[in-house]
Amino acid sequence: MKKTHAALFLSLLLTIFMIQPLSAEITGKQIMEDVYNKPTGDDMQGELTMTLTNKQGESRVRTLKQYIKYGDEVDKKIMFFQAPADVRGTSFMNWSYADGRDDDQWIYLPALKRTKRISSDGKSDYFMGSDFTYDDLGDRHPDEDTHTLLREETLEGKTCWVVESIPKEEDYMYSKTITWVMKDNYLGLRREFYDEDGDLLKILTIKKFDQIDGFWTILETEMKNVQKDHKTNMAFNNVQINRGIPDRRFTERSMTLGR
């Protein structure tokens, strides 16, 4: 009898230990860390078309080529502006560091024929007049926010975690963001940005995504400013991943020559 009780107790104990990891709930922080750390390849290149549309329905189009190289210590990005005509030949380079120090940024203006270091403090500035700030376009480190998993729900047929992220920095440009993260690929299908007063400011929606060279990649996205009724569509074309972009792509020579 004692042996039976002991066996039953042991079975229960083992069951509890086996069940425990399965029933433990994933946290908002874990989800956002997985989003941040999802595989991206060593480098990426492609063409970007930005269409800015105001509330009157008038559109302006910007096109550029961009190259990104991911490293252990530094991620390097360079953009070559191709249109409209008044910005053609301009290039922008950004080095982003894993140790958390400020990014290094340079801009080459063909009219001045000079590569100029610029302050990376303007992360809340809008990129080329679009509805994306420089910070919206970067990978925000999950440690910069406090994350809460609000719920799970299905959006556009995709099962998603809904995660609320509140910045730790008091005077950050957003009071919070809410992200719908797709469970099967860790891409954010939708993100809502709330202003400093807590009102909904912008909605980011993924319009198109696919696996490119084995990596889940966003191919078209739209940011809508609901307060100004202004939106920006970003479409990525000819995306290529892991093609071995050389380091010399991210130099003054490349910025100056546009190649």
Partner: protein, 414 residues
């Protein structure tokens, strides 16, 4: 002459537009058309400028090379049609170095609105410092080689033919003029620098971009772009009064060594630049120098900072000119200081820009104040309204106190 120039431009354009005949397909054509109208605020409200501009860029690039031809056309209400080539060069690209041969603008340094080590391309000062900088800088025919190692660039430039500063006409409101005690006679026998090997100029530059700072070191053996006015005075032997004056403009060699640096400190970008000129001539009023010129070493420096506050771009610079081993009688001050200030902000998602740029001459208390507002109706179609206000009575800016103006520029890029 003008017709011949126009034929040349049209021919170049046709060849490039139909470039596929010559195997030069995919030539990219861009440029702008602009109307620039300026009106003086003093006196009878004269138009200081009414100018129509066409600026074209024919560009072709491949992995191994490229070319660029940039003809321009200025039509002004008070002068002839001007047609020229801002740049026209060939590029050859190799693994670790590039060659650029032809007429080109070559820019150095990190100062903005000031030319400290940025002296390879001479300046077109026909409208003082008011035009855009791509129009102030003139192209020079040069052979340029850039070699690369990591994030560093080594540059060597050979300029076979000297090109001086282009000064305003004698009747221009932008002619700074010189005060002479008597009506001078000009002797231009030495004012040309003959196009020969011994008169060529050479420049070297090293630059690097790093994660902590950007650095540039430059050197040059060149002619100073502004002429020196050597003077011969004639006196009445009895009264010792000045009776005649012969002015002989001449360009002289100088040697330049300098550098510039740019580094981030928190959210601020600090910039510095300095150029040491060995053997620059200055005008002097001293009996010890009957030619009225003296040769001195000269140091030209700048310290500046750039930062953003709530989306407003701010930039400020202090610029110092220092004549070493100074002597009394030199017309320039031993130290001359100029302060620049820039504030710039966009609205309506970069459709509307407000800008204020100010030069302040600290020695004379003069200034040039340049507010601007520009609006982009649609992609590539801009209108700019601005004003140039000169303050003070003397000095680099104050001497143009009567030239306060408002202006409009309508520009279409294609």
């Amino acid at each position: 002459m003008l017709i011949r120039k126009m034929k040349y431009i049209i021919l170049v354009g046709l060849i490039m537009i139909n470039g596929s005949v010559y195997g030069m397909d995919n030539i990219y054509i861009s440029g702008y058309a602009r109307n620039y109208t300026g009106m003086l605020l003093e006196g009878d409200r004269d138009f200081s400028i009414i100018q129509n501009t066409l600026d074209l860029n024919f560009e072709k690039k491949s992995m191994k090379g490229g070319l660029l031809v940039n003809p321009y056309l200025y039509h002004t209400f008070d002068s002839n049609l001007e047609i020229g080539l801002r740049e026209a060069y060939l590029d050859l690209f190799f693994d670790n170095f590039d060659l650029r041969i032809g007429k080109q603008q070559i820019i150095q340094g990190k100062a903005e609105g000031a030319f400290i080590t940025d002296v390879v391309s001479p300046k077109d000062l026909q409208e003082f410092l008011l035009p855009d900088f791509d129009e102030i800088r003139m192209g020079v025919t040069a052979f340029k080689i850039n070699a690369y190692h990591g994030n560093s660039t080594y540059e060597a430039v050979w300029v076979p033919v000297f090109t001086p500063t282009r000064m305003p006409d004698a009747t221009s409101i932008w002619n700074p003029g010189m005060d002479y005690p008597v009506q001078p006679v000009f002797d231009y026998s030495t004012s040309d620098v003959p196009a020969r090997l011994e008169n060529s100029e050479a420049f070297i530059r090293y630059s690097t971009l790093t994660s902590r700072f950007d650095l540039e070191l430059v050197g040059g053996y060149m002619f100073y772009d502004d002429p020196v006015m050597h003077m011969t005075k004639e006196f009445n032997p009895v009264t010792q009064q000045l009776t005649g004056l012969t002015v002989r403009p001449e360009y002289h060699r100088v040697t330049l060594g300098g550098g510039s640096v740019s580094l981030p400190v928190g959210s601020i970008i600090l910039r510095g630049e300095s150029g040491f000129y060995s053997g620059r001539y200055f005008q002097i009023e001293s009996p010890a120098y009957p030619g009225a010129t003296v040769k001195k070493n000269f140091l030209h420096s700048m310290a500046g900072l750039d930062f953003n506050v709530r989306g407003i771009i701010f930039s400020s610079q202090i610029i110092q000119e220092y004549i070493l081993d100074y002597e009394s009688g030199i017309l320039n001050d031993e130290f001359d200081h100029t302060l620049t200030f820039l504030a710039k902000k966009d609205f309506l998602q970069e459709k509307l820009w407000l800008e204020l740029f100010i030069y302040t001459g600290l020695n004379e208390g003069d200034a040039l104040i340049r507010p601007k507002i520009s609006y982009s109706f649609t992609d590539g179609f801009d209108i700019l309204l601005g004003s140039n206000i000169f303050a003070g009575d003397a000095g680099r800016f104050g001497r143009f106190d009567d030239n306060d103006m408002i202006y409009a520029k309508i520009k279409y890029y294609f």
